[in-house]
């Protein structure tokens, strides 16, 4: 029962966050659509948190090895995503 309630609370959070996302993103002008995509992409690398916990288990198991590969993937996503977005945004200039 407690698991179900926990799941429902998580769904609450998810639904509300989707609405916040819709509100924010409809205001982004077309000029910034590519940086929006690469920047939000970097945010989706938040999976790195899960990867850290898996990779940091005490003993070496399937979980740690999967966690480490996940960590590499997620970190590429995070670092590459934020940097490339910054590179693009640096170029956007007004007269």
């Amino acid at each position: 029962m407690t698991e179900i309630i926990q799941l429902l609370m998580q769904i609450y959070v998810f639904v509300l966050a989707v609405f916040v996302g819709f509100e924010l993103i409809t205001k982004v002008p077309p000029t910034l659509h590519t940086p929006l995509m690469s920047g939000s992409n970097a945010i989706s690398g938040i999976t790195v948190i899960g990867a850290l916990i898996s990779a940091g288990l005490e003993e070496f198991t399937v979980t740690t090895i999967l966690g480490m590969i996940a960590l590499i993937f997620a970190q590429i996503n995070v670092v590459g995503g934020f940097l490339v977005t910054d590179r693009m945004l640096k170029m956007f200039k007004n007269k």
Partner: protein, 462 residues
Amino acid sequence: MEILSYIVYLCASVLFILGIKKLGSPKTARKGNFLSSLGMLIAIVITLFDKHILSYEYIIVGLLTGSVIGVVFALKVPMTGMPQMVGLLNGFGGGASVLVALAEYYKFLNDNSLNITSTISIVISVFIGAVTFTGSLVAFGKLQGIVTGKVVKYPLQHPLNLLLIVSVLAGGVYFTLNSGMPELIIAIAAVSLLLGVFLVLPIGGADMPVAVSLLNSYSGLAASATGFVINNNMLIIAGALVGASGIILTLIMCKGMNRSLMNVVLGGWADAGSSSSGVGQSSIKGEVKSVDAEEAAMLFDAASNVVIVPGYGMAVAQAQHAIRDLMNVLEGRNINVRFAIHPVAGRMPGHMNVLLAEANVPYDKLYALEDINDDFNNVDIVLVIGANDVVNPAARHDKNSPIFGMPILNVDYAKTVIINKRSMNPGYAGIENELFYGNNSLMYFGDAKEAVAKLVQEIKTL
């Protein structure tokens, strides 16, 4: 410590929201991206102190390897390679979600602590993550030219995909009830990986803006699903924001082509294009007039109001710098120059804007379709560079045209339209463009970069 980490996760979630909010204006966008990355940093740092983390060797190896690869990717990629870069990074995010879900599964299995909600979350995370992973890799391959950018048809396409989806669903339900079977979740992952390939393979090059946006959305949803697996609200929030962002971009792209999402995903346009192109050809009347650099230069010299319409051809020819030179030389003669950007020009949302920004064209000269379309009557010259279907007037009036109803830039309303193209070959949709036969249309043949550079030279001599 645990309480502190929850507080930091909350701060990180707020920073992500503020970061995306600041992406709403070019003036604050860079700061917004910084805030998001700050959120990510504090989240990572506090997690390193998590009580479950006891060994740091793999973490250090993973963090360093990933960071180095990420930095190299980000600094090496040329601006023209941005669509495939975004695709590739998306794929890594999806891949990470699959791996974390599997890692957690094995941990739960070891501790004997699997329950129904975590099992469901694991299945969803594996499924979305795997589809994102291979789908993004195929999209990357297509944009990079490793995999054909054409619409790929294979036998029993739709039944096959349906079969794969149904088997993932059935497998997922069975696994939820029998979660002690690692082979089953591996099989679900394998089928999902296959599905990612099959779903993206048929999508043609010009439909890539939709595919890339949709995969962007999936990568967010995958991250959210991982949040359900590890019971972390920050992941759920961050993933949901990205999921929403991808969906909105997808819908904007679909609207820009006047097509439904299903139609794009199933590759319907190419069908329509090939079947009715014959009809299109015969119905076009008029002759094609062409112009050389010298004549075009004289036309520009006499103009006072010019609009440039770039398309994917500009990206292919890397003509953005030559176009910037053209803008400068025209403005030097007190000619007003603006750019009209169609929502689906290029291979990803905002593709043209990034390339023109790279060439130092100020963003306030770039106009979206709805902001400039009523003004073409007052324009002396429209220069179309490497765009085709998005300026085809048939979309307005020819009910038989496959692109009928698609919003187009009304360039034919201008006094003169100069169209730079390499040849008379039809565009992506495989349809003839009646714009080329218009009374006020002039074709200016040649490679975009060379042709524009030549034009600049000619204008300078006047």
